[in-house]
């Protein structure tokens, strides 16, 4: 009995060992691919940014042109996120609660900014709101154009975050609130909005992280004038082209840190949200 059981477990144990080996191999491959393609290049940027010591780093990010670009990037991204929060929630609301002909089509064009190359996005805005605007609206080469380009590319984030949550929300509470005499606005603010908040925040965070690093859509329409319409990514591009890699790397690190902090904050909020659910 013991002999047969031994012979039966032996190959199983063997295959388990080879499976463990195999899994270590696939894990190694995944980690290796990621390190080689993503981690090492990014580490190189951080390393290059400190080439001139901490002093050099600080000097690079406090030079007036870099500072102006960073300031514009953050303020424009904040403004864009604020608009996205309002308009994104509104669009999600209309797509979930309203019904009209062509709603399916409207729903599918929401993703267009993700599918459209950013350089084309900038060109489309320039075609309508540029120097030869058929509407007579020319915002090209102004700060408005920066915001417009960022709004275009970040449109889907809040909509797509809020939409599924809004679909799942139980209508009972709203009906109870309404039957107790709450107006539509009060019901929205007191009952629906608290439920949507985690989704709105996570959409906003993703949109902000995207805005801060956006490049393609702003290149054509903003004109890239230093101190006026030059955003951080365009500043970095310019510094690389003129050979100042260390300066470019320093500003890149600032962008990286901000994006990571925002995404990290988002994951904290999400974790709290899910714990709350349980």
């Amino acid at each position: 009995m013991s002999v047969t059981s031994n012979t039966q477990t032996a190959p199983a144990a063997g295959s388990r060992a080879s499976k463990r080996e195999g899994s270590a191999l696939t894990r190694g491959a995944a980690v290796g691919y990621l390190s080689l393609l993503v981690l090492i290049p990014l580490a190189a940027v951080v390393w290059r940014s400190t080439e001139g010591g901490i002093e050099g780093f600080v000097r690079a990010i406090t030079n007036p042109q870099a500072l102006a670009a960073l300031r514009l990037t953050f303020f424009a991204s904040l403004a864009v996120v604020a608009i996205n929060v309002v308009m994104g929630t509104l669009i999600a609301w209309v797509l979930v609660r309203d019904s009209f002909r062509g709603k399916g089509l409207v729903n599918s064009i929401i993703d267009l900014p993700f599918a459209l190359p950013t350089i084309v996005a900038g060109l489309t805005l320039l075609a309508l709101y540029g120097p030869r605007s058929p509407l007579g609206l020319n915002v090209a080469y102004t700060k408005v154009s920066v915001g417009m380009a960022l709004l275009f590319v970040t449109l889907p984030f809040v909509v797509r975050a809020v939409q599924p949550v809004l679909m799942e929300i139980d209508r009972d509470m709203e009906e109870a609130a309404a039957s107790l005499g709450a107006s539509g606005f009060v019901t929205f603010r007191r009952i629906i909005l608290p439920n949507l908040m985690p989704a709105i925040l996570s959409g906003a965070a993703l949109g902000f992280a995207r805005s801060v690093g956006e490049f393609g859509s702003v290149v054509l329409i903003t004109g890239n004038q230093p101190f006026k319409t030059q955003v951080a990514s365009v500043y970095i591009f310019g510094q690389v082209e003129s050979g100042n890699t260390a300066g470019a790397a320093a500003v890149s690190v600032v962008l990286l840190v901000v994006s990571l902090l925002v995404l990290f904050g988002m994951s904290l909020v999400n974790r709290r949200g899910t714990r709350h659910d349980r």
Partner: protein
């Protein structure tokens, strides 16, 4: 109630029209107002065709690499327990949080001619920067997370019961993967591939820095759009943009077909 509903609908649709629909339509109008002949001439120019060819070549390589990696990585994330898994998960999202320009800069620092790796490769006769390999690396970087992110939830959902049954019945690990796991995650993989392709074809910032923008050699279609714009060749510029926009719309249609998520 109905009045407020109509107000909301008007606001939402108006916003979408002004920000999205009208600008995109305008590019089509601008392009075709030059007449079909001019459009055809612009598309069939050698530099335009080369840019299109290079874009597709780079996309095919990047998508293949990221699909294989994406499936392996999703299996590792869902089926294995190990230290540092949370870190791996976080690193996977990095490409979405990094500015494309920073990606380009990173590749220049590592593979540029004056860098250690770049100098060493140059001695071996391999050029990365200002050449196709650099464009491919940049494209792989920016489109890396999509397949993983789509496959992970599907993999989690299907569980391991069928795989265990297959391996009990004597299937090898590879057979189990090919005959049981792969068919089950097909929809997630397909959706991931569509998203990766869209990102790969549209990449501009990172490619802009590492390609050197050599006309007819390292210009992808997005770079070509900018190049034509800077040379005041609006017909060429708008035509190339329309080609990209058509690819984007086709991607969108494919996304709707392949999306494993429920309909809104």
């Amino acid at each position: 109630m109905t009045a407020s509903r109509i107000t909301l609908r008007t606001l939402a649709l108006g916003y979408l029209a002004l920000l999205l629909v009208l600008p995109v339509s305008m590019v089509f109008v601008r392009t075709f107002s030059n007449g079909l002949g001019a459009v055809w001439e612009a598309v069939t120019r050698p530099e335009a065709l080369h840019a299109l060819w290079l874009t597709l070549l780079v996309a095919v390589i990047a998508v293949t690499a990221n699909t294989v990696f994406g499936i392996v990585c999703a299996l590792v994330l869902v089926r294995h327990e190990f230290r540092g898994k949370a870190l791996l998960n976080a690193v996977l999202d990095l490409p979405l949080a990094v500015s494309p320009v920073v990606v380009g800069l990173a590749l220049l620092i590592i593979y540029g001619r004056t860098s250690l790796v770049g100098g060493w490769l140059a001695e071996a006769g391999i050029r990365i920067v200002f050449s196709t390999p650099g464009i491919i690396l940049a494209t792989i970087f920016v489109s890396l997370p999509f397949v993983v992110r789509e496959v992970v939830p599907v993999l989690r959902e299907i569980g391991t019961e069928q795989e265990q049954a297959a391996s009990t019945l004597g299937a090898s690990a590879f057979q189990t993967f090919r005959l049981v796991t792969l068919p089950a995650i097909r929809s997630g993989v397909a959706y991931g591939i569509v998203l990766t392709t869209a990102r790969a074809i549209g990449e501009f910032g990172a490619v802009s820095l590492v390609s050197g923008k050599l006309a007819g050699r390292t210009e992808t279609l997005t770079i070509y759009v900018e190049d034509r714009f800077q040379s005041f060749d609006l017909v060429g510029c708008y035509t190339a943009a329309v080609v990209l926009a058509v690819i984007a719309v086709a991607t969108l249609l494919l996304t709707n077909l392949t999306s494993p998520k429920e309909e809104y």
